[in-house]
Symmetry: C2
Subunit: 413 residues, 2 copies
């Protein structure tokens, strides 16, 4: 007889559906579609030559170690390098503050596994990163949405959320995914203060922090928390768990990211990782260390910044020209995404259907809102497509928007 | 104020302790200890030259794709290659039967996540693989231990366990970790029949299947299940989920393994993987495909077999000579481990303490028994150390055993 698989699945996976991101990523694979839906880095900026030199050096000098099982925490020289790098532009940390993960998605999953009991409340800005919601839904999280405006989370509304007794606050302060907004210094300071007052930890997700194209760098929450506590002796032991990644600085295909957290939280995450996948690829850690150890990334990040800045500028310029005046959108100071807002009542899913007929794609914003809303919003990626493709795609999207707005009874100017 | 982290952890991690494997792996890092404790492949057999050529070819021909985000299921040519490879020596499958994971440990974790509700029963042979217990403890599994003898699980005792209503049966039929035993064909056929009778799926964990040093290959459970059902049209849709890995055939530092399962189970595992780490390193999948595509692995496996066979033979020879006559041990036909059994009442943890004074290490067998027992057993790895090191280490271990047995009142011959 056939195995009745569907009755054998655990509760946590019974309600698992195919995800919006997943279905949309399939669209991006159709070669004739100009897709602003994904969140891919531009492959033109991958440093192929440096990777080739690094692979050869690693295999020649450390081959047997790089291909062998490794420590769950990560390759120690890489952890030490990340600690030094973090100390240069943010908080002072040591290797015991650093865990290497297989991409930031894995860090989000482990945080869910370590902290979330079914029914626990998590404070998020709305919209927020869909991958975090996907990771934490599996652990039965509930979300308290705090409103976001063009400067990110409206921190004046955070205290009410904290009085519910949430497990932690999740925020992306720099060039947020999906909205492209950046949290100003005053809001950061206020968030640190409120989190401390209520004893609620902060998860700071910062994949794009170094990809700033204009304006001044704003200190990270983990840095501000350390200053607020004034008890850092080279090891961070505060209230923030900070995530960043090589996916945007080097290449996502390596699946290399890192967590900065108090050593006791790192130890707990290490035990989780041991049961989940033993350790992250030794070879990739050796190669990333080899590529980055001479300070190469500083130079490389300049190239990424100038490439993405040009793409953002072209996109904003064509939007100004082609988008109907009823549309609003964010002006991101960095990162990879901007956020479009249509008049209330217009459905981005309907717009996407029409857009696909014109061979252009984006992500409807509804699914980034864990408690509903945002059906009139859209996430638009500017890092992946070349400038001329952006011109053509945004032109098509402008025509689509005019068509759908007119169909919805708007007088399109 | 300081964050009271320990009160914020989820139930599932509150009782997490530092693991025995983890503590023991630390011992293996002390350079003056001869360690038979780990489960490491011999680094001498890593094909460094082939890796170097493969990295160069991948970066030259497919660099931008190999460094970019990839499909959650895995790199399609690699999945197709694994399907062909499986069809050559086992069951007929297609790419839709194959999921790439970041090591088999991740496959075990995902199986736990997809299937296990807190309190669910899992049937295991005792002793069983510790990594599976670690993965599934996090999901609240309970274990029904079926006794194992020198031929693996005593399948005559399986039916009583199946009548409890377990979620699945977990078994390592070839050169089992930790015991080195191999399940004979009659027991395999009986297991398939019983599993079908009670509608209970089988998880077949087969990391070492191709590392056989003597005797005839025995068909895998997934193959026998397919024959039993007689409904295979090129896609497998039976009752077995099969796991294997590149860690033992190529190199564990790549973190590359695979699952063979009915397409609907693969789809469920893919959704789980998407939330857990998006996908396994694209670069490593391209490199493994490049190394293996020309049939290289067939030749390479011969080298691994002859290397490990020599080490096993040396170990068995020195054991015969040096171990006290009260000791029994398995004679594994393949794989990486053998299993030592001391007289009842002798504690392997005590032996380990004395052994460490003599600078030799192994894993006490107790922790491989989920429901207790086996305190007088030990797992001994023969794949990692060179033959002369094995001679010296087993000599030291023999002296240790004689000393501890004498101390425990045994007349040592």
């Amino acid at each position: 007889m056939q195995t009745p698989w569907e009755y054998r699945y655990a509760h946590r996976t019974q309600k698992m559906g195919s995800s919006v991101i997943r279905e949309l990523l399939k669209l991006t694979e159709q070669p004739d579609i100009i897709s602003f839906a994904g969140g891919l880095p531009a492959p033109e900026v991958f440093p192929l030559k440096e990777f080739q030199d690094a692979c050869n050096a690693v295999l020649q000098n450390d081959g047997p170690m790089a291909l062998q099982y490794g420590a769950t925490e990560g390759y120690r020289p890489l952890r030490e390098m990340i600690a030094r790098h973090t100390g240069r532009y943010s908080v002072q940390v040591c290797a015991e503050n650093v865990l290497i993960t297989s991409g930031s998605q894995q860090a989000l999953d482990f945080i869910g596994r370590v902290f979330i009991n079914r029914g626990d409340h998590i404070v998020v800005e709305s919209p927020t990163y869909l991958g975090a919601l996907q990771a934490w839904n599996a652990y039965g999280a509930q979300y308290i949405s705090v409103r976001a405006d063009e400067h990110g989370m409206v921190v004046d509304e955070l205290e009410a959320a904290l009085r519910v007794g949430p497990k932690f606050i999740y925020t992306l302060p720099n060039f947020q995914n999906p909205s492209g907004t950046t949290l100003p210094l005053e809001r950061r300071l206020k968030m640190i203060e409120l989190a401390d007052k209520y004893g609620v930890p902060i998860i700071e997700d910062d994949p794009y922090g170094q990809l700033r194209y204009e304006g001044e760098h704003i200190p990270s929450l983990v840095m501000l928390d350390s200053q607020y506590r004034n008890d850092n002796n080279g090891t961070y032991s505060g209230n923030v768990i900070y995530l960043s990644t090589f996916s945007k600085l080097l290449a996502p295909g390596l699946r290399l990211a890192w967590v900065i957290a108090p050593p006791e939280v790192i130890r707990r995450l290490v035990m989780t990782k041991q049961a989940a996948d033993l350790h992250t690829s030794s070879f990739n850690q050796y190669v990333a260390y080899e590529v980055a150890k001479g300070g190469f990334l500083d130079e490389h990040v300049k190239l990424i910044r100038s490439t993405y800045k040009e793409r953002r500028d072209v996109m904003l310029e064509v939007m100004d020209e082609m988008f109907p005046s009823e549309m609003r959108w964010t002006h991101p100071e960095g990162g990879m995404f901007l956020w479009g807002i249509m008049p209330e009542g217009v459905d981005a899913a309907e717009v996407l259907k029409t857009a696909l007929e014109r061979k252009v794609a984006f992500v409807p914003g509804g699914s980034f809102h864990p408690n509903g809303g945002g059906e009139n919003t859209m996430r638009i990626n500017f890092s992946y497509s070349a400038p001329n493709t952006i011109r053509e795609g945004i032109t098509r999207l402008g025509l689509t928007l005019k068509e759908v707005l007119a169909r919805n009874g708007h007088k399109v100017l």
